[in-house]
Symmetry: C3
Subunit: 336 residues, 3 copies
């Protein structure tokens, strides 16, 4: 009967609204304690600043404790494939890791980026799904190959704070140039968050930079059910005009997944896909907000003057990671 948090759209919209309301109460300081003697085991297969800091702080503020494990650095290199003869370099199988940590901790949290080899495999999100399968305790996704639902929660919370009523307002996910081919988990999760809020979601990206078709389906289904919509375009300036939220984000072309040289070549000449102050001036009443999950490449994805300007919501967004996760942890493992 354990409940995992692997993707926002796998929880009912009512449950998500409940989390967001609880998060707002946490932020207002209305909830103390609730996680006494509770342990969260975090497994970072990839680096983190906000996620680790906000999770560790969330547990501490309510009386609990978060362990941070970094396989391959301080702990053993981890095998994530199931039926394997482990005579290579990996030392610990996630089956044992998930089962053992379930004996020490009240919940597990896992960060595991895609490995960049085969999208046909990665799109099944095998690492986080297998952790959830073999763990006896709730598993929280701290960004997998496909989803970053804690970021999505914080994004939804931030948009409600800044916009008030969100239904029908315009959300633009705008592809951005970046020196590396980044994963699609954050852009998919941000668009799902906007869909949850019933917004008119526009994804502006160059041809060839579509998210996975399953992501589009999830976004469109949820948006429609909540009073919003989904549009895809390659007209960046047209999309931003009149937007209430602009969410610049880079991701690599899934069509070239696992072929980095080819993918890199496709990104050449797209440096103008960048959120500038001039573009921000064309948003709704010139007061649309700029969002980003961070870390952000300054003056590459977003200009410094946008990040530092009055319409930037990026720091609020990062702060809301903390409150959203406090709510999530209280919901999943809180003492009643």
């Amino acid at each position: 009967m354990k409940r995992d948090f692997l993707a926002m759209e796998e929880w009912s919209p009512e449950a998500i609204d409940g989390l967001l309301a609880l998060a707002a109460r946490c932020k207002r300081g209305e909830l103390l304690g609730g996680l006494e003697r509770k342990v969260l085991a975090m497994i970072f297969l990839d680096p983190s600043l906000r996620t680790r800091s906000s999770m560790e702080t969330a547990m501490f503020l309510h009386g609990g404790h978060a362990l941070a494990l970094e396989p391959g650095k301080g702990s053993w290199a981890m095998e994530t494939e199931l039926d394997v003869v482990m005579d290579g370099t990996t030392v610990e199988h996630i089956i044992e890791a998930a089962r053992v940590l379930s004996r020490y901790a009240d919940a597990l949290a896992v960060r595991s980026f895609p490995k960049g080899t085969d999208w046909g495999v990665e799109r099944l999100d095998p690492t986080i799904r297998n952790f959830a399968r073999f763990a006896d305790k709730p598993v929280i996704n701290l960004e997998s190959a496909r989803r970053h639902p804690c970021q999505g929660l914080a994004d939804a919370m931030t948009m409600r704070e800044h916009l008030g009523e969100t239904v029908g307002k315009r959300f633009v996910l705008s592809w951005a140039w970046h020196p590396k081919a980044l994963p699609t988990a954050v852009p998919a999760s941000a668009a799902i968050a906007a869909a949850h809020l019933g917004m008119e979601v526009t994804i502006a990206r160059p041809d060839g930079y579509d998210l996975d078709s399953e992501d589009y389906l999830a976004i469109e289904t949820l948006a429609t059910a909540r009073g919003g919509s989904l549009h895809i375009t390659d007209d960046l300036d047209g999309a931003i005009e009149g937007a209430h939220v602009v969410y610049p984000k880079s991701w690599g072309a899934l069509t070239h997944f696992g072929r980095p040289e080819e993918e890199r070549a496709g990104r050449e000449g797209k440096r103008d896909w960048r959120l500038t102050q001039e573009r921000m001036r064309s948003t709704a009443a010139g007061r649309g907000i700029a969002m980003h999950c961070l870390p952000v490449r300054r003056n590459v994805e977003v200009d410094g003057e946008v990040l530092d300007g009055p319409n930037s919501a990026v720091i609020d967004q990062a702060e809301n990671r903390l409150h959203a996760q406090r709510a999530l942890l209280l919901e999943l493992i809180g003492n009643r």
Copy 2:
């Protein structure tokens, strides 16, 4: 008057039985608090998942805090030899590290694997012994070149849970093939744990894979005193037949210690030294338990179906690390 925990056989059998009883009470949830305002400083010269997680959780559950230091990564590269002119690459001497941490913490815990150069030196277990010598506070061995006594405690606790009365029951430590030459600390400590329980200890290993003669002596002396015995054999199948516990574990040939190429050559052709389901069927009433300290190479040391099957005790064993260490910490530094 400080008391260290460096090797199980250095504590009296009565003291060990006391720890095991306390650990069982911890597991039943009968003991809260006891480590308020206490700090454990853990020094990991080698990687860890269970040890770090279970120690950190143990301290937290009773109100204390565990620091995890990783010399050479987050903290300074550490010199472990005593009379040395430090004009090379090491930056901090363990003499200062032990003394300084004794001022911050109530106990120290150290993991330090053998360096693989000279068994004549390593068999004196110099790193952990020197930490204990220079620390003013109790030192806990989190696996040294020679011993892993916290694992031994958990092993003893697990066998008592699964077998009830243990005197005269059959414990088999079965050497296993592995791509690397592993240390002998765990197999020695597991056999000492079984000896403590008065079991009939059989060590099944290929010729040339004997544990240190001092280990054999420690195991035999303790086993005999407690109503058990020690047998050494190279007949793996014969040993497992009728066993109550099978503990597969790989270790490198001490006779080739420090000569890895030669040692590796000796391991060729021994891949059949593996715990299979078929072998498990020949245990006592087909219900002998399989144990392993973890991490385990699936389908190399032990078949996946054994690890995942009903007779596997490996996850209980890992859980018991937590409870055994809670007892140890309460005993060594608990508030009375």
Copy 3:
């Protein structure tokens, strides 16, 4: 109105004396609690043992929690220059890191050694200054290019404990040979601590190993105001004769900063700049104390018999890091 702790001489002498008095009360066990629900975010751009352990312990002992982030290892590689197009290898800008962590934590603490390229830039201490500029919460310097004020506090506390009245007593900062060119933050901070205590400060160093002229000015100004003085000499033995405190410490020649080969050549032949037992015998009544910030290269900077002898204050000094930082944290973010 936030208050940072970046350099000891930037706080009033009265405020520093207040901290030292509070630290002494912490050490005597007179102060419990005060940091409940408080979080300190520590960013280690360079390694640490004492600093991390003592900070983490300080927060815990008073009910708070310290996060340890290691950019480039567990967290994102950090950009410290301000106006930069981030299309290289750094992933997270300190502007965002400082702002985001200010939302999670009640104070930030940063360790950032000089990069060894251009002293003209480093002497402005840009990394710690920019963290302080962009953070909304107090920033504590855990050793920057120029200062290590937490070490300085502990040094001052230790000298008061060992010497009682300090005004007019003789403090010798003695340059020592070391295989690497070390930063000047610790020697400058130690001399400032002695200056704060009104001591007669002598800096014994070979020609060409002067501290930054700004450091000399800060030391002399403070020493004079507090009843002491500053002398510079290249006569090591003459300086140590009659000294109450000898503080051996290595640092690289600033005149060759950024040119390591040239700097190394200049250090050749200076191995005799080492604190020996014989030199200690010439101190005041043969009972002057030996200090060092640690880690220390045994038998390179200081002989083992000095470190292990009765006049060594190095372990007290390390312990006092804990108490000085408890006082600092209570002062900056303590619940009143």
